[in-house]
């Protein structure tokens, strides 16, 4: 039995068929930086300026109804000057059975608006991103570490963080 990666029908090279891409292209044409698909999974990169506006739109659009933020995480790209970080929003629509990935490239030290007003679950997920990468979220209700102890120094998932930690064994 082979895995059917293309269950939703948005195959390699056809990301524009995804309804979310079409909707963002229609309503936020200047925000889209890049649209790609891989293994039948579609993602779009957008500018950080109005990302919450786009997320709210994706949630409230009747054709999409992305009512579930299944994950919010980040990636560190130290070799990419000017866009060292990337926040990734994994969206799922329980009523339409649709998945969509939104990426937001960020500079070192740049803040992005919190999505916790759109989905409450973003509160803790953004705390985790802050804990692991040091990315701060503008307007976050409780920007503390969530996994590491409060006195912890550094952000472990940054590439410059030593692999085995800073505590001598």
């Amino acid at each position: 039995m082979t895995a059917n990666w293309d269950r939703q029908g948005f195959g390699e090279g056809e990301p524009e068929k995804h309804p979310a891409v079409a909707a963002i292209r229609n309503d936020f044409p200047s925000s889209i930086l890049e649209v790609e698909s891989s293994c039948g999974q579609v993602w779009a990169a957008v500018t950080p300026a109005n990302v919450v506006e786009i997320l709210t739109f994706l949630k409230n659009n009747q054709e999409l109804q992305f009512d579930f933020l299944s994950d919010l995480t980040a990636i560190h790209w130290p070799e990419r000057p000017g866009a060292e970080f990337e926040i990734v929003y994994q969206l799922y629509s329980t009523s339409k059975h649709l998945r969509f990935r939104l990426k937001v490239p960020l500079k070192e030290g740049q803040e992005v608006e919190t999505a916790s007003d759109v989905w409450q679950t973003a509160d803790w997920l953004e705390r985790e991103v802050y804990d692991m990468f040091g990315i701060r979220f503008e307007g976050h209700p409780d920007q503390r570490r969530i996994l590491n102890p409060d006195g912890f120094e550094g952000h472990p998932l940054r590439k410059e963080f030593p692999l085995q930690g800073r505590v001598r064994w």
Partner: protein, 184 residues
């Protein structure tokens, strides 16, 4: 007229039957080692083996260790079953401090012994850095037989106590609390 036998042995009298001579330490050690009450907590997969040791197949109750206490005030034995993270370390230490003397600690499995495979920023490299450990049980995770053997080893250690007191134990030197940064 039949002759009455001059003496018939009737066994020891009530007084003699109830006298046993021993040392006070032996009695205290016997009492302490025969009803070790472990504290109910597990930190990782080792806890599953600990649960298995307590459940029907291995049945720790046979040895008198069956009462897993939900309160540290009522427990004698702390089985550190699993990975101790830097975030959890103060909690484990507090639970140990809340236990009444006499008390013993068993480090169960590789993680509690030395940090195991987790040579990372988040894991305490062995619970001996925060607690005085009496018995180390190797394994990842150790089987229930190994845990039972470990507790029996602790019983032998308790049998060696003198003057009703546990031997002085030490905390490994060199640990300065979680996340004290050093020059990398």
């Amino acid at each position: 007229m039949s002759k009455k036998p001059t003496s018939v042995y009737k066994g020891p009298g009530p007084k003699e039957a109830n006298v046993v001579l021993t040392s006070a330490s032996t009695v205290m050690n016997w009492a302490q080692r025969s009803s070790l009450w472990p504290l109910t907590f597990g930190l990782a997969c080792c806890a599953i083996e600990m649960i298995s040791a307590a459940a029907a197949r291995y049945d720790m109750a046979r040895f008198g260790w069956e009462v897993f206490r939900a309160s540290p005030r009522q427990a004698d034995l702390m089985i550190v079953a699993g990975t101790v993270t830097n975030k959890m370390a103060p909690v484990v230490k507090k639970l140990y401090d809340q236990m009444a003397e006499p008390k013993w600690v068993i480090a169960m499995g590789s993680c509690a012994t030395c940090g195991g495979i987790f040579q990372t920023y988040s894991v305490v490299p062995g619970v001996s850095h925060i607690l005085p450990v009496d018995v180390y049980i190797p394994g990842c995770p150790p089987r229930p037989e190994a845990l039972i053997h470990g507790i029996m080893t602790l019983q032998m250690k308790i049998d060696g106590q003198v003057n009703f007191a546990a031997q002085p134990r030490r905390i490994e030197p060199g640990y300065r609390g979680p996340n004290k940064e050093e020059a990398v």
